[in-house]
Symmetry: C2
């Protein structure tokens, strides 16, 4: 079922990009990290489908690395944003959409008293750390080893592998290591930063245990630390009240981005009234943080998710995909591991090892899927949208069956 796929326009654009963009591309959308047959440049999207600049079509399992939750060009969301854009988006102050969005978020998030908006997920995680430092008068942030909280000097020292000064690492789901990090902070700990689940690139995902989540809450309460949930990756895909709501554990601050506006640029931090003095004392702002169209988009995204029970839909198709992949892999004798929430799928291959950047099976599988019109990142978790249909899943599993056959043949023992 492979089809002839064109690449000439993409190749020409890459050549032009090398002349005017540093190293041809930067950041997480740099296709040089992907199999050779993956495109760098795209032309359009609609629902669960994407087209690259050469007109090749893909069923999409990456969702722009998370932001697309209801499918590309969702009519309700885009009409809400467009209507506001037509009146005025970037003005001398916010519009009523900012209040409406904050009211909606506070309404669906029982523990939170307020919402604050910015543009990047990193804006929210960095500001959360700054608020915690102001509130406690202490400097050290405890954070999980290997966890990504944004490309800011607050979190990383240049390279993403190097933790920034002012942070001490613990191991995810290991309360003992958190206590050790607290001791190592020598009474200077301001906060515990924790991702909603463990989603470090290229290694198996890990859901938090209830004991770990509750233990962090108790440790923060007992020691006067701020508990910051980084829900940038999981937010609005795991639970509309926040990804730790099903665990019954409430943070003090929670950072959102990605799925909140179905691709329209907005991030959010939610928090408790006990921290509003620290907010007032900690400067934060940005040129476009008050623009109205993304706020209208976020409101429409959340309302639509609530209306259609989007979380249930994502879980249903996520389970179809996970079960289908497992059956196909088993049938071909290919060892795989599927981890984390089904809505944010990650499949890794036995025999591959991302820690040594040796992942030929994952790259071959993803490349074979791309030839068959399915876009799945080889080592970064995927993201599902509610636009995925049963037909999309059926086509994907058919393509996957062929791709597993290739992997089985190429990597036979």
């Amino acid at each position: 079922m492979t089809t002839e796929r064109q690449r000439s326009t993409d190749a020409a654009l890459r050549e032009r990009a090398r002349a005017v963009i540093p190293n041809g591309m930067y950041g997480h959308q740099n296709a040089s990290f992907l199999p050779d047959n993956f495109p760098q440049f795209f032309a359009r999207g609609a629902g669960a489908h994407l087209w690259d600049v050469d007109g090749n079509e893909y069923i999409d399992y990456l969702c722009a690395y998370g932001p697309i939750l209801l499918g590309y060009k969702h009519p309700t969301v885009d009409q809400a944003a467009g209507a506001v854009q037509d009146a005025g988006d970037c003005l001398n102050g916010p519009t009523d959409k900012m209040v409406e969005l904050a009211e909606l978020l506070v309404e669906i998030t029982p523990w939170a008293d307020w919402a604050w908006f910015a543009k990047n997920g990193t804006d929210a995680t960095v500001y959360a750390a700054s608020i915690a430092r102001t509130a406690t008068g202490k400097q050290t942030i405890l954070r999980a080893r290997g966890a990504y909280h944004g490309s800011s000097p607050t979190w990383i020292a240049g390279d993403r592998e190097i933790p920034a000064d002012g942070t001490i690492e613990y191991d995810y789901n290991d309360l003992g290591s958190v206590r050790a990090a607290l001791d190592a902070a020598e009474s200077d700990a301001a906060a515990v930063m924790v991702s909603a689940f463990r989603h470090d690139v290229g290694i198996d995902q890990e859901l938090p245990t209830v004991e770990f989540a509750r233990g962090l809450r108790e440790l923060c309460d007992a020691n006067g630390l701020v508990l910051i949930l980084d829900d940038v990756r999981g937010g609005f895909r795991l639970d509309m009240a926040g990804s730790w709501a099903p665990l019954g554990v409430d943070p003090d601050l929670s950072a959102y981005c990605k799925a909140i506006g179905n691709g329209h640029p907005i991030s959010a931090l939610m928090g408790r009234d006990s921290l509003t003095e620290a907010v007032a004392a900690t400067m934060s702002t940005g040129s476009y943080w008050f623009t109205a169209a993304p706020m209208a988009a976020a409101k429409a995204t959340i309302e639509t998710m609530l209306e259609i029970d989007g979380i249930a839909h994502l879980k249903r198709i996520g389970n179809q995909l996970r079960d289908g992949w497992q059956q196909a892999a088993d049938a071909h004798g290919v060892g795989i591991r599927q981890t984390g929430p089904v809505q944010i799928p990650l499949m890794l291959f036995d025999g591959d090892d991302f820690t040594t950047r040796n992942v030929p099976r994952a790259y071959r599988f993803a490349a074979e899927l791309a030839e068959r019109g399915v876009y799945l990142h080889p080592v970064h978790n995927g993201f599902l949208s509610t636009a995925l249909s049963d037909e999309d899943i059926a086509h994907t599993l058919e393509a996957s069956d062929e791709a597993f056959a290739v992997v089985a043949a190429d990597f036979a023992d």
Copy 2:
């Protein structure tokens, strides 16, 4: 010429905001810093005019604090962005618009080899500092006392008045103080950060002297420092090739935001090929950094500015405004100081002193203008758009004449 102005909708929204937004509002668009009759919430904009949520109309001299360069809802820009939005904006990779925008920027900026895009001006200034640190292996950034480069822990320690660790201050336009800062850095200086002109809030603006700009360039060359121009405030209003192009001084990195996309959310960093290795070694990315619509908007904004010679238009109306204000102030015996580029006007009043937050004349003048349908920030520099007409300026000067009369009467010696 005052008209009855409504405030009830704004008041009701402020009340609602206090319940769900920390302290009711945050950041530079927080109206609690403004005269009481200024609105917090806006409804729409068109050309050089704005309407608040109560329907009050204003001729606008703030331009959303800078982003609006060609007027609100500029048809060419918004159609370019809208067409891309209709195809697909936030995808698994950028579209050809990213290459086209980078090509255009490199074309109009003779010294620069590449362009990089993000969302906040702060993303660009912080990344510039990180690149300089990676490139030089040194840590200290020399920056002007009181200068604002973004609300990031890289630049400020919580409050905007407190410079962050890792920076040493010099005085703008004082080369001796830069040399002293370099000595104080004890061979650990990575970069000199400098704003295109001095625009610290509430004090007289200051254009750079040619000697200062050239001296920084020579000092950086002689000592292996990266020269970073913060052109977030001035970019695309002072000169389309960068605000220091008329001085004949080229930086190594230049940060843009605000006016680049006429309100569509995008920032940029431009740089030299000598720094691309440092870029590759310094992680940077963001969820929405590759979205296509703001890139199309920025391309259309820059092309339109070139086509209409927007800079010349801004200078012409800026001089009309400056001359008109000076004549009116003189006629009423009110002492004022107008400083900085006419396109980014700042008028301060003799007798006021922002350093002690004692600026009653500026607040009275701005409040009187607002009553007459003119929006001018009392102490932050204004921004002109090319949409301002001769009629707008005439109305503004008529309103200003009445406002100066009020100031003269209220603050008579």
